[in-house]
C-alpha cells in the first residue's frame, strides 16, 4: 500500500480534497492517486460522490455555481486549482466522456474536428487525418467512413458513445475521464467500449466511474470505493474484489447494499 501511494508514476493525485455545493459538503478529505497508463475505477452507490470527484479532475464542477474546493488536485505534480491555472487549457489535457452520449447536432466529421478546430487547426488535410485517426482509435471508422458528413445524431447509442470518445481523442488528451460511459448502452455496445478502454490505456491514463462492479473488475487496474462522499478504500482492483480490508467495501461488493 505504501509503495502504491508514493507519487512516482502518478499522473494525477488528489490530496485532502473537500468539495462543497454552497453549504452542502459532497466530498470529505479524498486522497487518491491516478496511475499513469492505467485504468482507475471509482465505484460506490449512487450519490456517493464518485461523479463529483471525477469532475474535480478536469474542473468541470467550476461550471456549477456555488461550488467550492479545499485541498489539492495535482496533474503531473502541479495543482490544477492553483491561481492562474486556466481551466480551458487543463480540459484539453484531461478529456471527459459523459454518462449519456452527447454528440453535437453536426455531422460526424464536424463533431470530431470540433476540438482540433477550437485549438487552432485549420488545415483541411490535417483535420481529415485527425478525424480518421480518432475514429480508427475509437473503433468506429469502418462503420461511419461512408457517412462522415451525415448528422451524428443518426448514429445508435453505442456508436454515439464511441463517437464522443473519438471526439475526446482528437484533442489528444493525456487523461480521459469517463462518467458511467456504458450506463445507457446495450450489452454488445458495452463490450465494445470495454475492449476499447483496454486498448486505450497503452496511450492514455483513464479514470472511469461505474456502478457496475463486474465492469470495474473487468477493465480496471486500480479501484477506489466511495461512500457518502468519502473514499473508503483504494487498492489494486484484484485486492478490492478478493480481499477488501474495510468491512463497508466488502458489504458493498458482496451486494449487501448499494
Amino acid at each position: 500500500m505504501q509503495r502504491m501511494m508514493n507519487s512516482v508514476g502518478n499522473k494525477m493525485e488528489t490530496k485532502g480534497l473537500n468539495l462543497y455545493y454552497k453549504n452542502f459538503q459532497a466530498l470529505f478529505n479524498v486522497s487518491l492517486p491516478v496511475r499513469e497508463h492505467r485504468v482507475t475505477a471509482l465505484i460506490g452507490p449512487s450519490g456517493c460522490g464518485k461523479s463529483t470527484f471525477l469532475r474535480t479532475l478536469n474542473r468541470m464542477n467550476d461550471v456549477i455555481e456555488g461550488t467550492r474546493i479545499e485541498g489539492e488536485v495535482l496533474l503531473d505534480g502541479n495543482n490544477i486549482y492553483a491561481p492562474g491555472v486556466d481551466p480551458v487549457a487543463l480540459r484539453k489535457k484531461v478529456g471527459m466522456v459523459f454518462q449519456r452520449p452527447n454528440p453535437f447536432p453536426m455531422s460526424i466529421f464536424d463533431n470530431i474536428a470540433y476540438g482540433p478546430r477550437i485549438h487552432g487547426i485549420k488545415n483541411k488535410e490535417t483535420l481529415a487525418e485527425i478525424v480518421e485517426k480518432s475514429l480508427q482509435a475509437a473503433a468506429l471508422w469502418d462503420e461511419v467512413k461512408d457517412r462522415l458528413h451525415k448528422s451524428a445524431l443518426g448514429l445508435s447509442g453505442g456508436q454515439q458513445q464511441r463517437l464522443v470518445l473519438a471526439r475526446v481523442l482528437a484533442v489528444e488528451p493525456e487523461v480521459i475521464l469517463m462518467d458511467e460511459p456504458a450506463s445507457a448502452l446495450d450489452p454488445i455496445s458495452t463490450a465494445k467500449l470495454e475492449d476499447l478502454i483496454h486498448q486505450l490505456k497503452n496511450n492514455y491514463t483513464i479514470v472511469i466511474v461505474t456502478h457496475n462492479m463486474q465492469q470495474a473488475a473487468r477493465i480496471s487496474d486500480y479501484t477506489g470505493f466511495f461512500l457518502n462522499g468519502e473514499m473508503i478504500e483504494y487498492d489494486y482492483t484484484n485486492n478490492i474484489f478478493t480481499a477488501p480490508r474495510d468491512k463497508r467495501t466488502e458489504d458493498y461488493i458482496t451486494g449487501r447494499f448499494g
Binding site: 478536469n58 468541470m60 461550471v63 480551458v88 487549457a89 487543463l90 480540459r91 484539453k92 478529456g95 471527459m96 459523459f98 449519456r100 452527447n102 454528440p103 453535437f104 447536432p105 453536426m106 470540433y114 476540438g115 478546430r117 477550437i118 485549438h119 448528422s151 445524431l153 464522443v164 471526439r167 475526446v168 484533442v171
Partner: protein, 296 residues
C-alpha cells in the same frame, strides 16, 4: 341516453363548433380581401405589372387624363426597405441579448432583463410612434439634416418594436438546448465564447431564424408607429433621410378618402391582399425552417 354521455357529446360538439367558427372566419376574411383586392385587376382592368412595378400613384386622376394610376411600387419598396433595415438592426442585437440572458448572466438576465423585454413588448404602438415623433424626428432633423421624418426614423422605431419578439423567441430556443452540448464543449477545452459561437448558436439556428422571421413579419405589418415618423410621401426613398411611405401607411392614409367599388378603393384592398400574402410567406418560411430543424 345518460347524462355523462350527453355531456361528452355536447363538449365534443362545442369544441367542433368553435374550431369550425375560426376556420369560417379565416376563410371569409381571406375571401373578402381577395375578391376586393383582385377586382383591381379583373374589374378595373389595371395590370398586375402596373400595380407592382409602377411608382405612379394618382388614383383620383380622371380617365380622360390617362388615370387612374395605381402603381404601388413606392409603397412596396418602402415596406420592404424599412422592415429589412429594422431586422438588420434588431436581429443581431436581439440574438446577442438572448445569449446574454441565457448564457452569460442567467440570474440577473432572467430577473431584470426578461421582465424589461416583456414590458417593451406591452407598450402600445401608438406610444412608440409618439416617442419617435417627439424625440427621434427632431433629433434627426437637428443633427443629420432633412425634415426628420425619414426612413431612418421609421426603421429605428420599428427595430425597437420588434426587438422583444426576437429576444423572447431566441431566448426560448437557446434555453431549450440540452445542457449536455455545453458541457461536452467545455470538456473539450473550449472557452465560453467558442461554445456559444460554434455549438449553441448553430444548434439553435432554426429557432433563431424563426425569431428573425417573426420580427420581420411584425415589422412588415406595423402601421401606426411607422406612419407617424416616415413623412408619408409617395416616392421611393433615395437616402436614409428621405421621407417615404409603406403599404400599411398608404392604406391608413387613403382609406377614409375613397368610395367602395372605385379603382382607388380596390387598389387599397390589393395592397391589403399583398400584405396577407407576405405574412403567408413568412408563416411558410417558419414552417419549413422548423421542420428542417426537427429533422436534424
Amino acid at each position: 341516453m345518460n347524462w355523462k354521455f350527453f355531456c361528452d357529446r355536447a363538449g365534443r360538439g362545442l369544441t367542433l363548433f368553435c374550431a369550425a367558427l375560426v376556420i369560417v372566419l379565416t376563410v371569409s376574411i381571406i375571401y373578402f380581401i381577395s375578391s376586393k383586392g383582385l377586382a383591381t385587376f379583373f374589374t378595373n382592368g389595371i395590370s398586375l405589372r402596373e400595380f407592382l412595378l409602377s411608382d405612379q400613384w394618382a388614383p383620383d386622376r380622371a380617365a380622360v387624363d390617362g388615370g387612374p394610376l395605381v402603381g404601388a411600387k413606392a409603397f412596396i419598396a418602402g415596406s420592404v426597405l424599412v422592415s429589412l433595415l429594422a431586422v438588420g438592426v434588431s436581429a443581431p442585437l436581439g440574438i446577442i441579448v438572448a445569449v446574454f440572458i441565457v448564457e452569460i448572466a442567467p440570474g440577473w438576465g432572467q430577473r431584470v432583463l426578461q421582465p424589461a423585454v416583456e414590458l417593451l413588448a406591452g407598450i402600445p404602438s401608438v406610444v412608440y410612434g409618439y416617442i419617435g415623433l417627439s424625440l427621434l424626428v427632431p433629433l434627426i432633423r437637428t443633427y443629420l439634416g432633412g425634415g426628420g421624418f425619414s426612413l431612418l426614423a421609421g426603421f429605428l422605431v420599428l427595430s425597437v418594436m420588434i426587438l422583444p419578439t426576437i429576444i423572447s423567441v431566441s431566448t426560448d430556443s437557446i434555453r431549450a438546448l440540452p445542457v449536455e452540448w455545453k458541457h461536452a464543449s467545455y470538456a473539450l477545452g473550449s472557452t465560453r465564447w467558442q461554445t456559444i459561437r460554434m455549438v449553441l448558436v448553430p444548434a439553435a439556428r432554426s429557432g433563431l431564424i424563426t425569431a428573425v422571421v417573426l420580427g420581420m413579419a411584425r415589422a412588415f405589418g406595423e402601421a401606426l408607429a411607422v406612419q407617424m415618423v416616415i413623412g408619408n410621401t409617395r416616392e421611393i426613398p433615395t437616402s436614409i433621410l428621405s421621407p417615404m411611405m409603406t403599404l400599411t401607411s398608404a392604406i391608413t392614409m387613403d382609406m377614409g378618402a375613397t368610395v367602395m367599388g372605385t379603382t382607388w378603393n380596390n387598389a387599397l384592398w390589393s395592397m391589403g391582399l399583398l400584405l396577407l400574402l407576405m405574412s403567408l410567406c413568412f408563416i411558410l418560411i417558419i414552417r419549413v425552417v422548423v421542420r428542417r430543424g426537427a429533422v436534424q
